[in-house]
């Protein structure tokens, strides 16, 4: 069971960071920001379906 729910990413170790000039950001935070951007675009583009299939 534990193996089933084990993290998909090996978290036993130092974090990974990206450097861009004076900006330093963890890869984890960068992934979350990317996901937010993807979800934002999806929220704009995907039609909002009403109840009972009425449009």
């Amino acid at each position: 069971m534990r193996r089933m729910f084990a993290s998909l990413v090996n978290l036993n170790g130092p974090g990974h960071f990206v450097h861009w000039g004076f900006i330093q950001m963890s890869v984890a935070n960068l992934v979350v920001i990317g996901l937010m951007a993807v979800v934002f675009v999806a929220a704009i583009l995907i039609p909002f379906r009403g109840h009972g299939g009425r449009r």
């Binding site: 937010m36 934002f40 929220a43 704009i44 009403g50 009425r54």
Partner: protein, 243 residues
């Protein structure tokens, strides 16, 4: 003969009581938010957008944050670090915060590109943005209140930044007791008041119409009329319908 005891409502709104604070507050509240505007059955068709779902998700996540935080407060740090149930509730507290910020940022981006402050909705926009900023502080003091090496590391890293602003004199991130009080009393209260005010303002002013809707009518002022509902009924569609 009818007496006041037979008609309890008769004791409300007597002219001689109009000067009372309760009467004035009641009238002001009913003028600002009549029941039909406070809890409307219908919304304009343009509210059928996923952007508003993320606003609701933000409020739902905040409810879970507060509920799990209360459970953590009851049982304490030894429980949330060692008990399997405590670890689970601790994780619920963390992940509901992640969902809270994720949904709030998507909602904020959407409202920014809609210029949602149009039409006397500046207060709605400002309370939303300030809620975000205050929530960052609430999350930060939460990380400082974990009672583990992570919180020690964060506090010692943060102290130099905070001290460089001068705020360290009254906001000492290495003072655990002070950070815990900020996290469980002051900042949740502030977030609750701001989010509650934000929701009431959304009801008061209505949802901002899209640019196309405004241009079609040749309106320069997108402010809602002072009478409920805050939109024109002909545009109304049942909540959730795209029509």
């Amino acid at each position: 003969m009818t007496t006041i005891a037979d008609k309890p409502d008769a004791v409300i709104d007597l002219p001689e009581d109009a000067h009372q604070l309760t009467a004035k507050v009641r009238h002001a509240a009913l003028d600002a938010l009549p029941p039909g505007r406070l809890m409307p059955d219908r919304q304009p068709a343009y509210v059928a957008s996923w952007i508003y779902v993320f606003g609701v998700v933000t409020v739902a996540a905040l409810s879970v944050v507060i509920a799990t935080g209360m459970v953590l407060a009851v049982f304490g740090p030894a429980w949330w670090h060692e008990s399997p149930t405590g670890l689970f509730v601790n994780s619920l507290h963390l992940w509901s915060v992640e969902v809270f910020f994720f949904a709030m940022v998507v909602h904020l981006w959407g409202k920014f590109f809609m210029a949602a402050w149009r039409g006397r909705r500046r207060a709605t926009w400002v309370t939303g943005v300030v809620s975000f900023v205050v929530s960052v502080g609430a999350a930060f003091t939460g990380y400082l209140s974990q009672q583990n090496f992570d919180s020690q590391w964060i506090s010692t890293q943060a102290k130099d930044g905070i001290n460089s602003t001068g705020a360290g004199a009254i906001f000492n991130v290495t003072n655990f007791g002070q950070m815990l009080m900020w996290h469980i009393v002051l900042l949740p209260l502030a977030v609750g008041v701001l989010v509650g005010g934000h929701i009431l303002l959304v009801r008061r002013r209505g949802v901002v119409p899209p640019f196309a809707e405004t241009a079609k009518k040749g309106r320069t002022d997108t402010a809602p009329a002072d009478t409920a509902p805050p939109f024109e009924p002909v545009e109304a569609a049942p909540a959730g319908d795209r029509s």
